[in-house]
């Protein structure tokens, strides 16, 4: 478990913004921080990673204090073994895709490298430089580079926002597959409810610098009878259907929204967000 109990005030010329965080994230699971823009989601990721320092409190992972201000204890950024995919991906333009991957570690796990390259379908891009890649390709490469680091914790800052819906669904599936296989912990920031519904094992809802709710997606939705996640304006229509015949996919307006096998007689619940973002 990654336990966060801290406060941090960011001050700039124009305003001060305070985060008061009391939350925890599940190990070896996909945790999603969800909330509107300006809620403090990215700041929370930066504070967990150690790129920014908390003012007061603790960050604790696997019984090790990454931050403990009362004991003036701090684990260095490098020792935390965190991989971070930034919104701008942070790929080094002077290196080819392959060299970006090789730069991560002196001795890369070759089996993992090959697996990641195959799963994320980037083999044909290895000799290309990042400036020549499309947005979706950059995202795959950034994710690959983060994974070959074999991190204990993978932080993803809205990595899937700038790409089209079809590609986004595909990348979400990649992430689910790889997380299941390698069992690392993911904390991902998003303001897309669709992303929460599809990939989150554990959700942390933020607004105004605070965690206002947390739990599994189902629990959060059932707690709120109007089918909204607290503090957000994204409404969901919920409906329960019984599968009459076996289906492999469900399409809404030509978009595939479910892609698992469903068998006859199975009862499934469909959540339809009014405004997919």
């Amino acid at each position: 478990m990654i336990k966060c109990e801290f406060s941090k005030t960011y001050t700039s010329d124009k305003r001060a913004f305070t985060l008061n965080i009391q939350t925890s994230f599940k190990q070896k699971a996909i945790n999603v921080i969800f909330g509107p823009s300006g809620a403090g989601k990215t700041s929370l990721l930066r504070l967990i990673s150690g790129l920014d320092q908390i003012d007061e409190g603790i960050v604790k992972a696997n019984h090790i204090y990454w931050e403990n201000t009362s004991k003036k204890k701090r684990t260095s950024i490098a020792q935390r073994n965190i991989a971070y995919v930034f919104q701008d991906y942070g790929l080094f333009p002077n290196m080819t895709v392959l060299n970006n991957l090789k730069f991560v570690k002196k001795k890369l796990n070759q089996e993992l490298l090959n697996d990641v390259i195959a799963t994320l379908e980037i083999k044909h891009l290895l000799m290309t430089k990042p400036n020549e890649l499309s947005g979706g390709q950059k995202q795959r490469v950034a994710l690959a580079r983060a994974l070959v680091q074999q991190p204990d914790l993978l932080l993803l800052d809205e990595p899937l926002t700038a790409i089209d819906e079809v590609l986004r669904h595909k990348l979400q599936s990649y992430l689910i597959t790889l997380q299941k296989k390698y069992q690392f912990t993911v904390i991902m920031v998003t303001h897309s409810l669709q992303e929460v519904l599809k990939i989150a094992h554990h959700v942390c809802v933020m607004n105004h610098g605070e965690v206002i709710d947390q739990g599994t997606t189902a629990i959060l939705l059932s707690k709120n009878p109007d089918n909204t996640l607290k503090g957000t304006v994204l409404h969901i229509n919920q409906t329960t259907v019984t599968v009459l015949v076996g289906v492999q996919q469900i399409l809404v307006n030509k978009s595939q929204i479910l892609d698992t096998d469903y068998t006859q007689g199975q009862i499934i619940r469909i959540l339809i967000q009014n405004n997919l973002t």
């Binding site: 971070y84 991906y89 942070g90 080094f92 002077n94 730069f103």
Partner: protein, 223 residues
């Protein structure tokens, strides 16, 4: 026309540029990364030669590095280094006088890079040296080239500082810009013209290359 002043000029420019590059890189990295309250003071000191008359700088070099001052006599007695009226003194003066021409382009280049490059590498556990040498510097090649070219060109054109601290000693501190002044005083316009033409041609070529870099041409070539 003697070739010695030209040789001294290019030797001074090359050594100054070389040393200044290695001084400027860590200084620029610190200026870009730091949140220290001393940053504006350091930046002001770096930029002083841009606005200060060269004679002012030369005068203080002469005073502080001369044998009558503590610093000058200490350097001479301890290390046997005499900075006034010597080529070594010219190098020290040139490094300080040309500091902003190397620091400003490189600092601007480093500032223009996304923070995520440094932070990604930090999270990978890379050292500062590795981050700088493998990630940051290769991505600001045009800025580095601009700094090198401007420093070289500026050192070639030095006059006031060189005259104040180096004097006019043939084969020691008499660089081309001083040779031109000498030849004009001796009414030897042909020699003055030859020196001037060479400096004019080199300055033009050097500055043209800077504008080509800024226009993006060399940027593509370098990458």
């Amino acid at each position: 026309m003697e070739l010695e002043p030209l040789y001294l000029t290019f030797k001074l420019a090359a050594i100054t540029t070389f040393l200044l590059f290695f001084i400027a890189i860590p200084l620029c990295y610190w200026l870009v990364q730091t949140r220290s309250k001393f940053k504006p003071i350091i930046e002001t000191i770096v930029s002083m030669p841009l606005v200060l008359p060269p004679t002012v700088l030369g005068f203080y070099f002469l005073v502080f590095l001369g044998p009558n001052h503590f610093l000058g006599s200490w350097l001479q007695n301890t290390f046997g280094i005499q900075l006034v009226f010597s080529f070594t003194g010219l190098i020290v003066a040139s490094i300080i006088y040309s500091l902003p021409f190397m620091v400003h382009p490189i600092q601007a280049g480093l500032s223009s890079l996304p923070k995520s490059y440094t932070e990604t590498a930090q999270l990978m556990g890379k050292s500062r040296f590795l981050i700088l040498s493998k990630v940051l510097l290769p991505n600001i090649k045009p800025a580095i080239l601009t700094g090198i070219v401007l420093t070289f060109a500026h050192t070639i054109g030095e006059f006031g500082v060189v005259l104040m601290i180096g004097g006019n000693i043939p084969e020691k501190t008499k660089v081309a810009s001083i040779a031109i002044y000498d030849e004009v005083e001796a009414l030897n316009y042909t020699a003055a013209n030859q020196y001037s033409l060479i400096l004019l041609g080199i300055s033009f070529a050097v500055l043209l290359s800077v504008y080509l870099i800024n226009g993006g041409y060399l940027k593509r070539v370098v990458r």
